[in-house]
């Protein structure tokens, strides 16, 4: 294309256990649907059994392939001066927040994430639309990162607007 200037992708990938996390989510949605369809199929119309089979196969394929895809396209990086994330492929979005403008650092761990020792770190700035989120870091790494970010942010003077 002849483009000479572009944003390079962030350096780090998410924790590999994210694959399990996403797959668990997909399973939580697909399995009950398949079960319900199968139960109805056994009790009433056998046609639903076919539908259950189709949903099961589709769900399995989605659950195996899509997380691999997501794992490839979700990236993040924290430098001394900024937090940088990139998500998506068809609608790719790169977000950069300078360290000096960070206002809050939140770490959230849902039930599934707790099981898998994962965590989501959300960094907000004074802008309502400038939130940067890294979903699916190793819990310990996330805690360290949050501590470090908080330390750097507190050391920066001003109200960050």
């Amino acid at each position: 294309m002849g483009n000479t200037v572009r944003l390079r992708p962030p350096k780090n990938q998410l924790n590999r256990r994210c694959l399990l996390w996403w797959r668990a989510w997909i399973a939580l949605i697909v399995v009950p649907i398949v079960a319900a369809l199968a139960a109805l199929g056994l009790l009433a119309t056998p046609v639903l059994l076919v539908l259950a089979g189709v949903v099961a196969v589709g769900g399995l394929a989605y659950g195996v392939l899509m997380p691999m895809w997501w794992y490839r396209v979700h990236r993040w990086e924290v430098t001394d001066t900024a937090v940088y994330t990139r998500t998506g492929y068809f609608w790719q979005e790169s977000r950069i927040a300078p360290m000096s403008r960070i206002q809050t650092v939140d770490t959230v761990r849902g039930p599934l994430q707790q099981l898998l020792r994962l965590a989501t770190v959300t960094v907000t700035t004074a802008s309502a639309k400038g939130e940067v989120r890294v979903a699916g870091l190793d819990a310990e790494l996330a805690a360290e990162l949050a501590d470090e970010l908080t330390r750097i942010t507190q050391a920066t003077p001003g109200d960050a607007t």
Binding site: V5, R6, L7, F90, I96, R101, T125
Partner: protein, 525 residues
């Protein structure tokens, strides 16, 4: 109460105001109830006495509550804080540090003005609940409070006042009807007339016949007449609204760098904006206004109340200048931003690649093509039936509909798309980043480069193939994000990098010199 020296009450006239307003409201209610009672056969004297008793109870109760509210509410200004206290049954204290006070807005609606009182809202300029409201203080006290509470800013900032930056020119009223709101206002007026007619009509048949007469009239004189009427009513409405909102408008810069907007005919408003919170300005040109070579100026500032519930007009607090000739808008923008002259920078913004034009044409034409296809299908399906039922002449009319639509819609869509493309532009002007976009509402945002607190770079698969990228500058001020859509990848990233130094630099890759960048950037951190 020893620690509460120097406290003052709200203005006592608030109680009288409440008494008068509730009395007025209850008189209306009383008339309705009395006539109802009498017509249902109740003795006249008893009904009147009962209703009078009820009225007295309602007025007495609300006056009583308001008296307690007046007694219980006190406020005072100490050296460091503004404190507001409510102590009746429960004790509630709120206070603001005086050095954090950024806005003191004074408003007075017509009833309040009749009683010589005004409401004062004191804010710290941070979003959220960091606001104190004094419902009722005398008009003189309100202005004293404004000066007193904003004085610290004047002492902290040696920049002197520039006096008046803009004053109302009545010729600007001509731009009011050009707003996109005009047809809506007209429709509302027609609706209101229909509503009032139905009150007087009483009998549904009368209203029905009036409406059907109107419909026949519409058919006779053509929809054009009705449309003209609606637009005319809208234009009058918009002008009246303009007069109410902008009567006595003045934009001043006060000592200490506070912008002060004063305006309003019935409800007077006094809005202060500390320049420290200003992150830029936005020149907004709705299509009609832009065709008349005019524009409005809004402030981009942190902590402006974006007209949440109960704030009335959305643009109320951020508009610095109503729609005015472009030269005036540009001068006021330059003055407000303390820039020598922004018009030069706005005249030579960087245009966006032609691929952006193709995207806009596609977006504009896609719905037209879809609608055309739908109309064509309908015409083909319905055409045969109509031909067999009403003769081939009618079928011809029906068959023409999709083509008439296409002939009108395609040029409009193309014109809008080309205009949207022409309006795309971005650039740097001194301390400011300029982003222009939009066609129905063209917006030119001048955002302080130091006020950009992050970048979001978006790229869809289509943009990637076209070599485009959408930049979003996030900021604490205004709408929180300002978008530069569809710029060339390389040019856009270089622009974002240059606009806000040291933010993107370490993530930018320059092809052809990877080694050099890697080495030169490392020690800078």
């Amino acid at each position: 109460m020893t620690d509460w020296a120097g406290a003052e009450h709200l203005d006592r006239r608030m109680i009288t105001l409440t008494a008068v307003v509730t009395a007025a409201v209850s008189v209306v209610g009383a008339l309705v109830v009395t006539s109802g009672l009498i017509s249902s056969g109740a003795p006249v004297v008893t009904s009147v006495l009962a209703v009078l008793g009820g009225m007295a109870a309602v007025v007495g109760l609300s006056v009583g509550i308001d008296y307690i509210r007046w007694r219980a509410t006190t406020f005072r200004i100490t050296d460091t804080r503004l404190e507001l206290r409510f102590s009746f049954l429960l004790n509630r204290r709120r206070s603001l540090a005086r050095d954090r006070i950024r806005t003191v807005d004074v408003t007075a609606n017509p009833v309040q003005r009749l009683f010589g009182i005004a409401a004062v809202v004191i804010g710290t300029g941070e979003s959220g609940e960091s606001e104190l409201k004094l419902d009722a203080v005398s008009r003189e006290r309100a202005h004293q409070l404004r000066v007193e509470l904003l004085r610290h800013a004047a002492e902290a900032d040696p920049r002197t006042d520039d006096g008046t930056l803009a004053e109302l020119d009545w010729q600007w009223a001509a731009y009011a009807p050009l707003s996109v709101l005009t047809p809506a206002l007209g429709a509302a007026a027609v609706g209101a007339v229909a509503n009032i007619a139905s009150w007087f009509g009483g009998d549904d048949d009368v209203v029905g016949s009036v409406v059907s007469d109107l419909l026949i009239a519409a058919a006779l004189f053509g929809y054009v007449t009705v449309a003209v009427g609606v637009v005319l009513a809208g234009a009058i409405g918009a002008t009246l609204l303009f007069v109410e909102m902008w009567w006595g408008y003045r934009l001043d810069r006060e000592p200490g760098g506070t912008l002060h907007v004063r305006r309003g005919l019935l409800t007077t408003r006094s809005i202060s904006l500390e320049e420290r919170r200003l992150r830029g300005a936005e020149i907004v040109e709705p299509l009609g206004v832009r065709l008349a070579r005019a524009g409005r100026v809004d402030a981009i500032a942190t902590g402006i109340r974006e007209g949440g519930a109960g704030q009335g007009q959305r643009t109320d607090h951020k508009t610095l200048l109503p729609a005015a000739p472009r030269a005036v808008a540009l001068r006021v923008t330059s003055d407000v931003l303390r820039e020598p002259d922004v018009s030069g920078a706005l005249a030579c913004l960087t245009p966006h690649p032609r691929a952006a034009r193709s995207r806009r044409l596609r977006w504009a034409l896609a719905p037209v093509v879809l609608a055309f296809a739908a109309l064509l299908t309908m015409a083909l399906v319905a055409g045969e039936r109509i031909a067999s039922a009403a003769g081939p002449a009618f079928a011809g009319v029906v068959g023409a509909v999709p083509w008439v639509f296409a002939v009108i819609a395609v040029p409009v869509a193309v014109a809008l798309a080309l205009d949207a493309y022409r309006n795309l532009g971005h650039g740097l002007s001194g301390r400011f980043l300029v982003a222009r976009r939009g066609t129905v509402r063209r917006s030119t945002a001048l955002l302080q480069r130091a006020g950009v607190i992050g970048w979001t770079v978006r790229q869809s698969i289509f943009q990637r193939r076209a070599g485009l990228v959408t930049l979003v500058a996030t900021t604490a001020a205004g709408s929180g994000a300002y978008t530069v859509p569809d710029v060339d990848i390389a040019e856009g990233i270089a622009f974002a990098d240059e606009a806000v130094p040291d933010l993107l630099a370490e993530f930018v890759e320059r092809r052809g010199e990877p080694q050099a960048t890697a080495l030169s950037r490392e020690p800078e951190r």
